[in-house]
Symmetry: D2
Subunit: 363 residues, 4 copies
């Protein structure tokens, strides 16, 4: 029986996008679970799926309640290259957790792979594709709904990933962690997008490394590049939850605050509503987040686009839209904050008068 | 059998403090679970213990792993006044969750009550004490290890709370949500502390409403007030995880950013290490956090004071002290961040050049 | 003959103040002439009166046009202690320049002396008074209209200065360069003011070292101190033209930016209109400026208080009040700036996103 | 007789530049004299040459002492279009003042014209050229040393100006008030520069509207444009003395702070030393300033390039290079500022914690 939550019971990712639906992605795992004590910064591997499954399940649940339509398997960097013999169990456990939670709501499971460490030193297509294929085999066995190749800083390697993932016959999304200046070999965003589509990706875009505003600039360039090339694809954006107007080509990892002092850059829910609206206006229909995107940021996407979608996410039972939950406060000046105009126009202070507004990236 | 984690098996709160141990408190529940989708801002009540017990248990677990020695029952505002008929079940469920997690490590359970809404309009000692006594009865039945009266902005009401909690025969801690200017009736911090001690509190201090730096200023005044009055008590601080150098007497609720745009004010782990050190130097031995304190902030307290305590918290298995986890990074400028001096001296940018550093409080 | 501008032709300083008039002081000489190339920073002596009399005359003229009612002799630090044999000629030339310009408008000439370098090391009242008396002899010979003892950081030395100046029989004003924390021996501002009045000063207040906001806080304390002591005096304020909310007891010299990077702190004309209004509301009637106060800042005082005084300063022929001179601009968004509300509410950006808002004072 | 200071006695502008000398320009007249009370903002015309000649002479003198090799006639906007019948006297008086002061040092006199108001509405080449020619006739009669067409936002009108000025047979410099985005008709900087050279300008570059950093970006583009076109010319830059990283195509006039709240943006002398060095490294040899450039900023150019030029400007008798004048201060922490490294690395605070770092331009 295709019970509620079984893969067969739900519309697939392409059906959704082709019918014009907005797909809400999920958010931050590595950075968020680092703060919750289950991931080690520097290492950035997802052994938490085995060591702390309750923590990972809980985070999936929070994103589901916030409105995510996709549970990405927590398999970032979970290749044999980075996790040695543990890789297979980690990938399998991650699939099970994602599927378990997806089954509790209207979400699909996406198997995710990312760039290798090897590529920079050794552009060995066969070895790299083998690493991708190993993870794909687990995803196929676990019957994920679609696949995501994400966090690639070189278009060439991303193309290899798409080529492998296409072998599964499932829909493939591909996102690069590049900014408006293009990939590390100076391939501009529009050209990167075209390469990914030509390789077989049905959905293309960016994730990570750059904040909401910068990511949307890159998406504009990708969209223009596809148009110029006469190609079509669905557009997807999963930006950082941190503001990075000052970052260079390498993105936020080069900022002096990475990764342990990014707090002042963290987006508010209102920043993310604005991001969701701008992404939507640009034609992007798969909208989620990456590092720094907490569950309430995902809810902000779902709430901003609730008029278009016709429904609210479950977690809106705990959120008064645009601050309306403050309208019973005993202090009149706090009640005065229970309105959209207030939060849209607020310029939030840092509380840090000895700190600057921008940093110069290292390197 | 007094199994590992049973209340009988552990040193009590006063034994710990009297022997000079540092007690690490826990952190933020309302604000953190609001961001995770389980608490409604404006309402700020803990029905999540019943509706989303996994989420509450998980947060307790994260604080335990981070090094907390106290699991506070998530019973803030859970009186009959605010929760009607649900109040009793919520208090009981909260005790069970706290006890369950405390049993997995070296943590005590503290039953917590806070100020009433009623006090401002109707200083009816009997009615208010009755509300406190109702919650206390559940705590007694559930056999919590000690009691905390917290978040009082009037010394008079805090004294009433201490008087009720003392009836249990268990140790009582009392913290007010005041700043250096004193309580809402202009009772200075030193005098507030003296009143609480005279009422029977063995542990006194501040929680919430003010950031780390401001809270420690208030603690200095409390310490001086106790000395001047010839009184002794253990000192306790559980500040906000947000920087609020610009707030007035009412604390962070009066800042324009409260409660939905406080992100740029969020403390880094290094800010909290500094707070822990300064609190320790001041003689405070019960050190935790309040709104905004995420699990990694609690870990920062436990790590900063690890030399004095002689051990590290469990979650340090996922944290390289002072950024040492970065020392294998491929980029040399990121490896250069793997040292204490780097993070201690960094002035983190907000990434928000159109926003100010400080705000003027409303009201 | 009491020709136009001769001292006999004008109302004296006390007549003005006693009749309730506002007296507009003058502004910055040392810092301003340093920027014009005639004063050496570090040395801070006024040999420009001899070396570049045209530059000094021109600056006096600008202040006169801006509305100043007082031409202070440019004799800061011009004692034998700092200028050796040149001291006498410099004092005499400064008096002549001040008198020449004062004669062109409604301004009095005030002879000014300031604290000695000697006092800190050698509290030799006789030697110090001798230095003051030397300058006073020149002022008496040149028949200045009144005398100002300014820039004293110790009340004791300021009292000695007042005692000497009183010997002339002319009215004496005395201003200290202290902030709300009091003088360098911890004498609070109110007590300092009382000492000065008891020593014979008819006008007391503060000058230099602290910005507009901080200086007015000190004035409030001086006013309260005089009231508490049952004393009366005219109040005078000549603050810095730089914002210094972050300075400590030593004032702006301890800020890291002193003296060569104070630019971002420079007050706008609107800041100074606000300062003039607040000073007036506090009861201060002698309102001028010190370091950083350019001619247009003095004009801002005169314009803000034009309604009370009934006339505008000469240089208002070159200034559209509250930006009204922009109302013919071809760009509509610049015309929109031609109104009071615009400039009163503007929060001017620094254009320096890599710099902080506040500094920690050295020492 | 070619007396000291007579035009015949000095090397001409092209001789200097062709022999590789650095020519130091002068600085701000309109904005500076507005602050001194002699120019009206909004109107921005130079009637001060007639009304307040001492003020204008003094400012010329200050620039001369600061190291300027060029006294620009204060004839900005002094055409018949803006000044009606007064235009001729104003131009003549301005020439006399510039010549008088130039005669006191090693400076040339440059007659200056700027864009018309008419051009935007009526591109009538004949009428506009007639306006230029009227001013040129005065300059020719007064025998200025060379001519500058400055502050043009349209390359076409700048070309017309150059064509007129060339009729004099004297060297012509031409600077546009454009940024990296090009002129108001979207002609890129490189192409603008090429047009000016082809029209006969021997010296080309930018002045006004943009701060030091932005102006040097535009100069880089001009240099590249000339190289690409196979043209050669001397390069000249006279940027604002205000930082404007946030301005758009229209430059600082569109910033909300223009013109009455630009203070926080004012460059320090160290900012200007850096600007001079970068301009020099780029190959620019005529380096001066525009609005906001005070005499000490010009001295900063002359001091930075003193090693290359082999001499110091006269006003360096009142300036300890790199703060060395502080090395006798009584406070050790102020003595510690008497060194280059200190000032080069200082990030000056604004003292304005309620203000942002950047503004969004209007329009």
């Amino acid at each position: 029986m295709a019970a509620a939550g079984g893969p067969g019971a739900k519309k697939g990712i392409l059906e959704r996008l082709e019918s014009g639906e907005v797909v809400v992605g999920d958010g931050s795992f590595l950075i968020t679970l680092e703060k919750r004590g289950c991931v080690k910064a520097g290492l950035w591997t997802p052994e938490a799926v085995a060591e702390h499954p309750d923590a990972v399940r809980q985070l999936h649940m929070e994103f589901l309640r916030a409105g995510s339509n996709v549970m990405q398997t927590f398999t970032f960097s979970a290749s044999e290259e980075n996790m040695e013999s543990k890789w297979e169990d980690v990938n399998a456990a991650a699939c099970d957790l994602a599927r378990e939670v997806a089954g509790k709501g209207d979400a699909l499971v996406a198997g995710g792979i990312c760039q290798t460490s090897m590529y920079k030193h050794l552009k060995d297509e066969a070895r790299i594709k083998k690493l991708f294929r190993q993870q794909l085999e687990v995803f196929a066995r676990k019957n994920v709904d679609f696949l995501i190749a994400e966090y690639f800083e070189h278009a060439e390697e991303a193309v290899w990933a798409v080529e492998v993932l296409k072998e599964s016959g499932k829909p493939v999304a591909a996102t690069m962690c590049i900014g408006p200046e293009g990939d590390m070999h100076d391939v501009p965003p529009g050209e990167c997008a075209a390469k990914l589509v030509r390789a077989g990706a049905a959905i293309v875009g960016v994730n990570c490394r750059f904040g909401p505003g910068t990511s949307l600039k890159t998406m504009t360039l990708m969209k223009e590049g596809l148009q110029a090339a006469g190609l079509t694809a669905h557009l997807m954006v999963q930006s950082l939850g941190f503001h990075t107007p000052d970052c260079g080509k390498g993105g936020f990892v080069d900022l002096p605050e990475y990764p342990f002092a990014l707090e002042p850059r963290l987006a508010t829910r209102w920043d993310i509503q604005n991001y969701a609206r701008e992404a939507y206006n640009l034609g992007v229909r798969y909208i989620g987040g990456c590092c720094g995107f907490e569950p309430y940021h995902i809810r902000a996407i779902a709430e901003e686009l609730a008029p278009e979608r016709g429904f609210w996410p479950p977690a809106s039972d705990k959120h008064g839209s645009w601050g309306s939950g403050l309208n019973m406060h005993t202090k009149p000046w706090i009640r005065a904050r229970a309105r959209r105009e207030y939060w849209e126009n607020l310029l939030p202070a840092s509380g840090r008068p000895f700190c600057p507004a921008l940093s110069k990236p290292d390197a």
